[in-house]
Symmetry: C2
Subunit: 413 residues, 2 copies
């Protein structure tokens, strides 16, 4: 009995029509449009023999009870960034719906193990800057005290915004009860990068989410007159920063999947008539291997000290944020590759640069894997985000195969 991929694609289009405007998707978490998306999704559940409830963190759970309480969880998120795309998150939720429906049909409403669908609350963190809100509460990694007083651009507090959706910030840790009997977690997502398109591949098994080291780096030199200061008498903070901006590429390229990005550079006083006295840079480094990540961070620090010395400057580092890499489950990665190979004849493995709810689930000790489908032009978080319908169809079919293989794996374990 095949999964109905075309029905899933039609549902995605229906959701897009319902929750987008001329600037793209507007399913900002805790907003009326997000609640509308969730109400629409729940109305579609009435066609299935399932139980539905929201947990203490606002995650939406749909359960098809099986002969065994051991549960396979399929999920992603319906929320979007403002002016977002039609696939980021939604694809995983709707694909999970299609798979759940196929399983309910195939096993006449009583599969051998329990199958659950989760729509995580506020994956994007677009309004309050707190990504993975619901999945971190599920995983027990919530950070209530830091988060309760976060405010949006209009001054509304996170605590008050979630309360409008009947979520009490102090109680979100209770979402951890949903971990009971969780045996595996699968998530289908668009790649949001250009690797698969460049390789001419529709699908990949995801090895895990990269760890991130994010730092603010300030070079201090000496402001001086552009006209009267000889080249040899300068202590140019921009020169030291420019050397580092180039060196981080060499550092990253030593490792196959590592990335290092200097996304921001600010010059002070920042006027054409003065040598730069102070230069502030922001550096983002990512890799799936914690050792590689630590090595890259160390190399960048050493090089920054060297460049500062060469330019008569000093340098300071301060950590903005960091998170450990989260490798996915080796056996589930194998199953994912197998499902892809059966669908398209070949497979590919790659890490995820962006974070996903799956990382939180994996961090909670639940065997986890993700599948990526190609993004056109690598663009996401934008209304032009897209994937060909042919690839969406292959993705839903491969994801369905992965679900079957994982059910068998859970039964056997």
């Amino acid at each position: 009995m095949p999964v109905d991929a075309q029905a899933a694609i039609d549902m995605l289009k229906e959701l897009r029509a319902l929750t987008s405007d001329e600037n793209g998707a507007q399913r900002l978490a805790w907003s009326p449009v997000w609640l509308k998306a969730r109400a629409w999704f729940q109305s579609r559940l009435r066609e299935l023999p399932v139980e539905h409830h929201l947990d203490a963190a606002g995650n939406s759970w749909t359960t098809l009870a099986g002969a065994s309480p051991k549960a396979l969880i399929l999920g992603s998120h319906l929320d979007s960034v403002p002016n977002g795309g039609w696939l980021d998150g939604c694809l995983g939720v709707i694909a999970a719906y299609a798979v759940l429906r196929r399983i309910a049909d195939e096993y006449e409403s009583k599969p051998p193990i329990t199958v659950r669908l989760v729509d995580w609350a506020d994956e994007e963190g677009a309004r309050f800057g707190r990504s993975l809100f619901g999945s971190s509460a599920f995983a027990g990694t919530q950070s209530i005290e830091q988060d309760r007083s976060r405010t949006d651009a209009g001054g509304t507090r996170l605590e008050d915004a979630v309360a409008t959706c009947d979520v009490s910030i102090d109680a979100i840790g209770d979402a951890g009860v949903e971990r009971k009997n969780a045996a595996a977690y699968l998530e289908l997502h668009i790649e949001q990068g250009s690797v698969l398109e460049k390789m001419g591949l529709p699908l990949a098994a995801v090895l895990g989410t990269k760890g991130v080291e994010r730092h603010a780096i300030t070079f201090h030199g000496q402001e001086a007159h552009s006209g009267s200061t000889p080249m040899t008498a300068r202590r140019d903070a921009l020169a030291a920063a420019a050397k580092l901006a180039l060196e981080i590429r060499t550092i990253a390229k030593r490792h196959p999947d590592a990335v290092c990005t200097m996304g921001s550079l600010k010059t002070f006083p920042g006027i054409v008539t003065a040598v730069v006295g102070r230069c502030e840079a922001a550096l983002d480094q990512r890799d799936l291997d914690a050792g590689v990540l630590a090595e890259m961070y160390d190399e960048a620090q050493q090089k920054s000290i060297q460049f500062a010395a060469e330019e008569g400057c000093t340098v300071e580092w301060s950590r903005i944020w960091n998170i450990a890499p989260e490798p996915f489950h080796p056996q589930l990665i194998e199953l994912c590759e197998g499902a892809i190979r059966e669908t398209i004849g070949r497979s590919h493995r790659m890490p995820s640069g962006p974070l996903h709810d799956a990382a939180e689930v994996s961090r909670a000790g639940i065997p986890t894997v993700m599948m990526f489908v190609q993004s056109l032009k690598g663009i996401s978080h934008n209304k032009i985000e897209d994937t060909s319908e042919e690839h969406l169809k292959l993705a839903i079919e491969a994801f369905d195969k992965l679900a079957s293989k994982t059910m068998a794996w859970i039964q056997a374990s």
Copy 2:
């Protein structure tokens, strides 16, 4: 009969006490404090057998008539930037006063040629962004139509501000009548750089003011996700700009006195999670040789195109401002060196990176030279701007010798 250098230094201190606050000098052109400085200076002229008037551009002229109408002009400016130093401009005016006084005494009020002192109006351009206001009107290089509607931070128009000092913007070109009989122009100024201090020299003859090429350079790449975009798939506008920030140093160092400065760099979107899609840089290039300047500008352009291509980016240049180099008069440079050598036993020649009123006077075809005195730490436009009293004394004595030599040169020519 020696010049009274100590009296000049005492006058500088008196002026500082009269026109500074805890943040430095406040003699902003067209302001009450500037008018106070000028009134104080005029009160000191009563001790001398001179004629005084303001010209049509607000320049203040003091004339000691000589046997010949041929005039040696000595000058600088009393105006300062906000929170400025005690020597920038004032030193040249007060030194000229001391020399004029010495000449009046020596020749019993009737020197063989006429000697004039000028205090130029609004050299700094600190309020309206129009430097060399008075000296350009004198030289006939005024730019009335571009300047009349310039406004200060408070919205006041230049045209209205100068009118409060009885200057009509439409008439400033009439200041050109002051060029009549002008035979030479001499200006003593602090270096405002660190060259002389590093060389351990108090004084230098100035070869001219460097020409300036000032451009805005924009590199266009592709904004992309820091986490999901492989290093090899990036079109990083910051990388191209960083290469140029380093290359301009190599370009400048091929020429002994050239300088190239990237004083401002801006990244867009300028967030740590995105590869820089657009990078805007400001480049300032200066040299005394017009050919060298043109060559450096061309090299920077060529290199920027190369770097853009290497990074998959494009680059655009737009001129912010430029001015031709203004070499001073070869024979007056010789005389200046001679005066310095007689005073301190050795001499040095150097170009001026900053612009000065002397450049406008020279541009009008009047033989011109400047003398520089060492600046401590190379700092100017700041309340900590300073020069040792020993060096100030040597400077005034050498400048006095230069005036005597130039008078003889005018008489002989």
